[in-house]
Symmetry: C2
Subunit: 406 residues, 2 copies
Amino acid sequence: MFKLNENYLKLPGSYLFSTIGKKVSAYSAAHPDKKIIRLGIGDVTQPLAPAIIEALHRAVDEMGHAETFHGYAPDLGYDFLRNAIAENDYKARGCDISPDEIFVSDGAKCDSSNIQEIFGLDNKIAVCDPVYPVYVDSNVMAGRTGTYDRNTETWSDVIYMPCTAANGFAPELPKETPDLIYLCFPNNPTGAAVTKEQLQEWVDYANKNGSVIIYDAAYEAYISEADVPHSIYECQGARECAIELRSFSKNAGFTGVRLGFTVIPKELKCGEVALHGLWARRHGTKYNGAPYIVQRAGEAVYSEAGKEQLKEQVAYYMNNASYIYNGLKEAGFTVSGGVNAPYIWLQTPKGMTSWEFFDYLLENVNVVGTPGSGFGPSGEGYFRLTAFGSYENTVEAVDRIKGIRL
Amino acid sequence: MFKLNENYLKLPGSYLFSTIGKKVSAYSAAHPDKKIIRLGIGDVTQPLAPAIIEALHRAVDEMGHAETFHGYAPDLGYDFLRNAIAENDYKARGCDISPDEIFVSDGAKCDSSNIQEIFGLDNKIAVCDPVYPVYVDSNVMAGRTGTYDRNTETWSDVIYMPCTAANGFAPELPKETPDLIYLCFPNNPTGAAVTKEQLQEWVDYANKNGSVIIYDAAYEAYISEADVPHSIYECQGARECAIELRSFSKNAGFTGVRLGFTVIPKELKCGEVALHGLWARRHGTKYNGAPYIVQRAGEAVYSEAGKEQLKEQVAYYMNNASYIYNGLKEAGFTVSGGVNAPYIWLQTPKGMTSWEFFDYLLENVNVVGTPGSGFGPSGEGYFRLTAFGSYENTVEAVDRIKGIRL
């Protein structure tokens, strides 16, 4: 008789955003007349920029003629895209990353959940608390996290690094040494950023202790302050210890287009074995490349017109972020984030739990956010709002929240 | 110090098609004047059908306007596509599969390598020999296959089911009972098919022994004979024991577009736990949906115009298959496949090994095929040619092969 992967059965509840989706659907079905504003899941709302639409149409036309048709893509991505990434995201920022260290994929969610596969099951992971749930859940599924304690909502074999108001939502170096350290800056969900100096401490720590940093830089396009690094490779020694994950979802609105990439420098080794080769083998065996038309759309992100248009798109969302941040602050909420990130992290009022506040907002003012506790125990008492709505909806949502009388 | 997934280091050599790609590149670089014809990797060459191109353009236009923009797709696929699949691929063939048992993905390669994840590491797999390498390699990476013997080119904990001329390239029921049985019909690489009666035996065997069949039906569009089933769900009892993998790569030329799906019926359970829920959890946690525009392209495959155009496309490739089959047979080769599949499986002449014949053809007539031994030990002495080239190239390749004097 066949056997299940029992690790799946250890997962508590369902994936956070599925749960939110179901709650909203149920409320919506019961109250079809209510206009719900969703500032919960980090999904964008602005259309793709014209330069990207043009590139997509051109690539679609190519697919309609035998001479320009494209079948299977190269395992690791087309050179035209890998070159554009290396040039614009790395060389232009003084980072030494070559095109063949870039692995094109269908998004950072897949990469951040798959990357653990190339490591042994006996590695200990460290995560920020609160944290994007995928890092932990993918390790649970692999059997790397021990047992779950329903009271503390933590796993026995995971090192949690609390990110709280006390430390400015930037974790301290852990007491117990982890093998794999997941970091995400600018942070999801707190919206916090770290300076280059702070990040350098992590790189030094990893190199000293033989740890690998899995650095999720999906939100780098939202950085507005000069001393905040866009890539971990701005730090000395990162090529020896860091993997970087990037996404086109937030800087170019590709949540429904699906494109991302992972960088693994060739110096990153365990003994003589380069992780680069292992990830290449995984890509070659278990993945078949991002669609040609999508890779062409990715290339257009780096065109002159694309850059110009996307700068405006990011500015549009950051204007929303300021509106939320300032509006809620004026109304007496305790808020953070929103300066280098499209997320605003607010303390729930009157000691409500995160889910109580979620239900309260959904039912009373029809605004959907994300309960902080869904990201980990230190997220309890917090709530995430995203700046990815339309400006009109963002203004209306903030006005509605300002109007609540608890 | 972090630790690697040591299972990766057990993998012998690189992924088959990467090796072929490198050999061909090297030859090509050394002989830039030679016109190489590639009938190796199963990549299509015909452009996307007009109905699909139109659907893609329409969807791209939608992505360019806020009112019709699509962000994150539903975890398991858009209803419009899942409904079209259920209606056309299942209901129309008398199979009882509902839309919510269909999981849309970016292709059968990913699904066939990821599906093992929801099973425990203590399951024993059975595969045909020769076999599509991904089934075995993904299980090697997970640590389910034991040790590799370089002499026999087999894994200690894998049950191999030889497919040879003696059994018409259809495996016999294994003596040792497997937990997971990978079957692919019409078969890659041999091009062999099984009748509904033969497949029913496998379903009965799996239900009797508590095994799960992972049925790869990526080539079902090429079936020409009436008694060959298009889906395993045409068999009685398959809802209790079978997962089916499907692809849009070969029936619609989506190798560079990336779309596929997996079917898991709700009755398929281990004790009280439905595999459907586990796979849904995996999709929700580790995947973010196929691109909207690609799912719209998939929908167009089932439109009246799409069906008509793709029938012609499949006929075009099957005409190539006949040409290869008949041409090589006339020239004295021993050939099979090519009737219900786009692959022709030929015996290498004069006792050459598969790789010797590969090198011989590449160097002497500049034709690329796939060495049978790359698919497993019973593939030694065989060679795979695909019908996915253009008609002109196919004719030229066959004429070149006919001209060799060994």
